[in-house]
């Protein structure tokens, strides 16, 4: 089947199913192009909660679909590729978090949204890469803080606030593969460009950047900056959106190799199959959901 055929079938089924297509900034270009909303995980889940839809097709990874399911218990949430996971989110389990909490019973637990619903259920408050600094800054100064699962986002926040936190040794395999030498090379090739990187990058890479931003923060920066050239240090899927939104600016990846294969495992065909069969469906058990939503609501407040 040609992709135009697949797309027209998707659109037809989408209407029939009263479905909405939520697409993460790292998805394939052709998937981004058919989205109802494109953005980062939290923004998309909030959009979903407001949407007049019965079915949410989440083109992202497992924890994102789970978050959508937590916020939208009455809607059917589909993840077109069930195996699209987040290796970082998988680096911490509920049991291992409980063990750590036992050692620090007084600590506040901050969980990055890149965690399973089960882990969120054991956390006090969630954060995204966009609001992590703000969330941690809002916690009482005398409180001990456990930050999971990304040690690099955790150190970035800790350094920014001058606050020591108990970090979990997790990391994003895609972002840690960005090296300082990649940034230096890109800078020497494009000396006029501003460098923006994601806070999941390693500390030495962050030190070389002009701005540290979430994916949506990067897109906003690209729109608003006077700079004509930007070097982007995150998953290369974001370049498609940025270049479309900023046709007169030159946007370069810090390296072509920054690819998350989990994100890329969702294809037009899989979206179509998913809408046809209404699966794979992501369901969060109610007991976990009501506990996890507290941590998410604590963040939104």
């Amino acid at each position: 089947m040609k992709s135009e055929e697949i797309i027209s079938k998707i659109m037809e089924l989408k209407n029939r199913r009263k479905a909405i297509l939520l697409v993460h900034n790292y998805q394939r270009p052709e998937v981004q192009d058919i989205s109802d909303h494109i953005g980062d995980s939290l923004e998309l889940s909030r959009k979903a909660a407001k949407a007049d839809a019965e079915v949410i097709v989440f083109c992202g990874v497992h924890f994102m679909a789970e978050t959508a399911a937590i916020l939208n218990p009455d809607k059917i949430v589909l993840l077109p590729e069930e195996k699209a996971g987040c290796p970082m989110a998988d680096m911490i389990t509920r049991d291992s978090l409980l063990e750590l909490k036992k050692k620090h019973p007084e600590a506040v637990v901050v969980a990055y949204v890149n965690t399973s619903a089960e882990v969120k259920a054991e956390a006090d408050v969630c954060c995204t890469s966009a609001n992590a600094v703000e969330i941690v800054a809002s916690l009482p100064g005398e409180k001990e803080i456990i930050f999971v699962p990304d040690k690099y986002l955790g150190s970035y926040v800790g350094n920014k606030l001058g606050r020591k936190m108990i970090l979990w040794p997790g990391y994003c395999p895609t972002h840690v593969a960005i090296l300082a030498e990649n940034v230096k090379k890109a800078k020497s090739e494009h000396p006029e460009a501003k460098v923006i990187v994601h806070p999941e990058c390693t500390t030495d890479v962050i030190a070389l950047a002009d701005e540290v931003k979430s994916t949506n923060g990067m897109c906003k920066f690209a729109l608003e900056t006077e700079t004509k050239e930007i070097i982007v240090g995150t998953e290369t899927g974001i370049l498609h959106r940025m270049r479309r939104e900023n046709p007169t600016k030159k946007i370069y990846p810090v390296s072509e190799n920054v690819v998350c294969h989990n994100m890329k495992s969702i294809t037009l065909e899989k979206i179509l199959w998913s809408l046809e069969d209404l699966k794979p469906r992501i369901v969060v058990p109610e007991e976990t959901r009501v506990r996890a939503i507290k941590a998410i609501e604590a963040m939104i407040k």
């Binding site: 996971g85 990391y171 395999p173 593969a177 090296l179 990649n182 190799n257 294969h261």
Partner: protein, 126 residues
């Protein structure tokens, strides 16, 4: 061929380290370059968070064999995270440099390693 490659590359080509398969590997990477036809398969064994063993099977040119051999040497004893930060340049430098037309072989070696680690991270879940 001695003219094209330095002695270290030649040495790794003639006596490649860690050739073969690992039985019950924790991760397998499989990559190929459709342009030149090189194919690499890289196997890793992970204990705790450390790569304890790495082996490879490569069908390709001298540089493809040498970069595969070198990447398995570099990766042994490293943590998974450290291994993710081995760049193609690091592989080429460890070999004392590669001719520009053969740099893509070092890219392939880096990709084979990343693909094996990705497989390892996936398998760990279920």
């Amino acid at each position: 061929m001695d003219g094209l490659y330095n002695s270290k590359v030649m040495e790794h080509f003639r006596n490649p380290r860690n050739v073969g398969e690992i039985e019950n590997p924790d991760g397998v990477g499989h990559v190929g370059n459709p342009v030149c036809g090189d194919i690499m398969e890289l196997y890793i064994k992970v204990n705790g968070n450390r790569i304890t063993d790495a082996k490879f099977k490569t069908f390709g040119c001298g540089a493809a064999i040498a970069t595969s051999s070198m990447v398995t040497e570099l990766v042994r004893g490293k943590t998974v995270e450290e291994a993710l930060r081995i760049s193609n340049r690091a592989v080429a430098e460890a070999l004392g440099g590669l001719p520009p037309v053969k740099m893509h072989c070092s890219v392939l070696a880096e990709q084979a390693l990343k693909s094996a680690i990705e497989d390892y991270l996936k398998r760990r879940i279920k």
